[in-house]
Symmetry: C2
Subunit: 428 residues, 2 copies
């Protein structure tokens, strides 16, 4: 097997046992990138010589931690001390932030090989789209805003990559590219040194090749784990099927994926129950998410507009000027409804091992359009953990994922459930 195809957990074990050199793994990833980058364009910055120097250094160093020598792509909205941080914005060309973002520093302290910066929608928000193509068909989008991170992991270029989600920027690209992704419970991983858009919504997460890869970083960041009972085999799972308040946005690919996932779960003996959320949730994915996003986005982009004026993309000038006309009353209603629903959803979700819900409206759009995050926004606002489970393929031949969600702080239990379900969706 080409080492570039190893998952992070697999590669970590081989490096620990001495059966794989860090430089060998790095060279395999670099070779894959060299072959694929002209079409996929996952990277906004990557210096192969810098990677190899760091890899050789790690080969000479006693094992630092669980990520020793594991290549990790970093979405280019995270500060990095030894690479530019450009946010896909001409205003940040060549910007050097002087230190690592918290989550990057933690990776490095665990021995990770920070590989390069991955392309992103401008400021992980709006404005310019990433140049990244979908590994399954580069004429289609990789989604956004964590475009390059999702594509790089799905395309066997690196086994792990960091992303962020404010609307649907982690889970939707995972669906489009066929990658595993975890959007953890809000607030459990430091967002220091990531570009700010909305403090209520911004969530650091990551992509991997397996549930085990997702768990590796959940353990590294010491995500708090609410106590949970033992997770049974698939035949003992109680799964809620939640179309969510925005089901009307589901295209055929998404409707089929949800039905197929439910069918396979039921065929394997799981109890699959339809879940209709209370009326209080009705406007979370749309009006309430929008109020928070644009209400807080006004503050987030004000300085950019003041400093750079018309050099700033119109999308951000509009946010700074409250172009969406969000009123304090709308913002208050959004905050308070979301907070009420967080508690309500925790209670509802406690009755199931997982809540299955769409990861995207359909498969990756043609071109570079990052797609519609409407199916992800409610979960982001609810602060609950979400795992994208890949494996299904739509009629157009592109991947389509489904989301497994759970109550706040059930991240580890959810990963256990995801591990049971993942092989069903991959047809294993």
């Amino acid at each position: 097997m080409d080492p570039c195809r190893l998952g992070a957990a697999e590669a970590s074990a081989l490096i620990a046992s001495g059966d794989l050199g860090v430089e060998d793994l790095a060279r395999a990833c670099l070779a894959r990138i060299a072959e694929r980058e002209p079409r996929i364009r996952a990277w906004s910055w990557l210096d192969p010589q810098q990677v190899l120097r760091a890899a050789r250094q790690l080969d000479k160093t006693p094992r630092i931690g669980p990520l020793h020598g594991i290549p990790v792509g970093v979405k280019d909205v995270f500060d990095t001390v030894d690479m530019p941080t450009e946010h896909n914005s001409p205003l940040y060309r060549g910007h050097r932030p002087g230190q690592d973002a918290g989550c990057v520093a933690t990776l490095r302290a665990a021995g990770a090989l920070i590989f390069g910066k991955t392309d992103t929608t401008e400021f992980a928000a709006a404005g310019r789209w990433a140049a990244t193509g979908n590994p399954h068909d580069p004429t289609h989008s990789a989604g956004g805003s964590s475009s390059g991170s999702a594509a790089a992991v799905a395309d066997f270029q690196v086994p792990l990559a960091l992303g962020t989600q404010t609307g649907g920027s982690l889970i939707r690209p995972a669906s489009f590219n066929g990658a595993f992704a975890l959007k953890p419970t809000w607030g459990v991983v430091s967002r220091e040194g990531a570009k700010l858009y909305s403090a209520t919504l911004d969530t650091v997460g990551w992509y991997g090749r397996s549930v085990a890869d997702l768990r590796l970083l959940a353990e590294l960041y010491e995500i708090p784990a609410a106590p949970s009972g033992p997770i049974p085999a698939v035949s003992g799972l109680r799964i809620a099927l939640c179309e969510s308040p925005v089901w009307s946005h589901a295209e055929a690919a998404t409707r089929d994926a949800m039905a197929e996932a439910a069918r396979r779960l039921a065929a394997a003996g799981a109890t699959v129950t339809r879940l209709d959320l209370p009326q209080d949730f009705a406007w979370l994915p749309t009006e309430h998410h929008k109020a928070v996003l644009h209400g807080e986005g006004r503050a987030a982009f004000l300085s950019l507009a003041r400093e750079h004026g018309s050099r700033v993309h119109a999308d951000f000038l509009s946010r700074a000027a409250n172009g969406a006309n969000i009123t304090p009353a709308q913002l208050r209603t959004a905050y308070d409804t979301a907070a009420r629903c967080r508690g309500a959803f925790d209670d509802i979700a406690a009755g199931f091992h997982g809540v299955l819900t769409p990861s995207s409206t359909g498969t990756a759009p043609a071109g570079r359009n990052p797609g519609n995050p409407v199916f992800n926004q409610m979960w982001t606002l609810l602060h609950v953990p979400c795992v994208n489970l890949p494996g299904l393929t739509a009629a157009d031949g592109l991947p389509i994922g489904v989301t497994l969600a759970g109550p706040r702080f059930a991240d580890f239990a959810l990963l256990d459930v995801a591990e049971r379900i993942a092989p069903l969706l991959r047809g294993q």
Copy 2:
């Protein structure tokens, strides 16, 4: 009048009319600092030559904005492109972040003269205390964590300064030093480029010499304003007197200050009503604030602990290791109770023009102990705007402030009310 004694709004008008040069103002402030710094030690970094160069440049430039030439001190937890950002941490000695924090960039784009960096409790959190002394008696503390900012403004060194509050780091130093301060509604001023401690609690705010000074920055940052009725004269004000659930922490100075403020308001014709908050609020200032602070502080300081190990102050190693043993259930309860109380407090406060409550447990402690934030923590967690009103003096001769709080997004209405009340407390 020595120009260093001008408030920001006064100085701005004189600079706009050509009656005061930016360099003259800067020289007056520098002279005051040169005289006072050996005892007060408000500054962690200040280069008089750099200040004068920038001042002369501003004198040559057509008026840039409302802050043109106004000296502003910046708490040394905000990134600054042309000054070190050290967080009072040996780990950040000489650190250069490569760009301004959002709120600093907005100041600069409005013509502000960024004067220097002010001393702070380490990372605005714990660990090392600021060296700053109280201008009214340098053997006493200036409070914390925004120690240098509060002292510099109260001591006529600069008319404005930025600070942050996660527990009581803006309002308590304002009380101790006798400064006006605004802790705005949570989320309305970008916290990008400020050291992260708790995303739920961290709030950017500022100190000024008057309510007009506070309003100057509220307008600059375009804080959203909920519609409010006209604000009457003092004789028409309805003021709630809220001892808060932690009244048992009030020392004689605080009990006296609250009584005296109520007496003067009533004497001026205001209706002063005692407000007892519902039982749901009982643990907000203590258990629930602590759960959020330490729950989110674990994530915030994890990378520091991983990167620097035993070189990190024990306070932060403890936070990274969840030394307070905050459980997910405690954190969830804290989040949900706080959210519930936010809505409830908005409703309660809507019946008053302002809620009067203690700013500190008493006057500034001897030495450099930053004091107890217990009276501020509930308001921080409630996300509501708070103004510290100075003017009263305790039996020990030190200043003591009182807080005026209001519902979320009532910042501007609250400033109007504060403007009515301020002269009563100053004995004017």
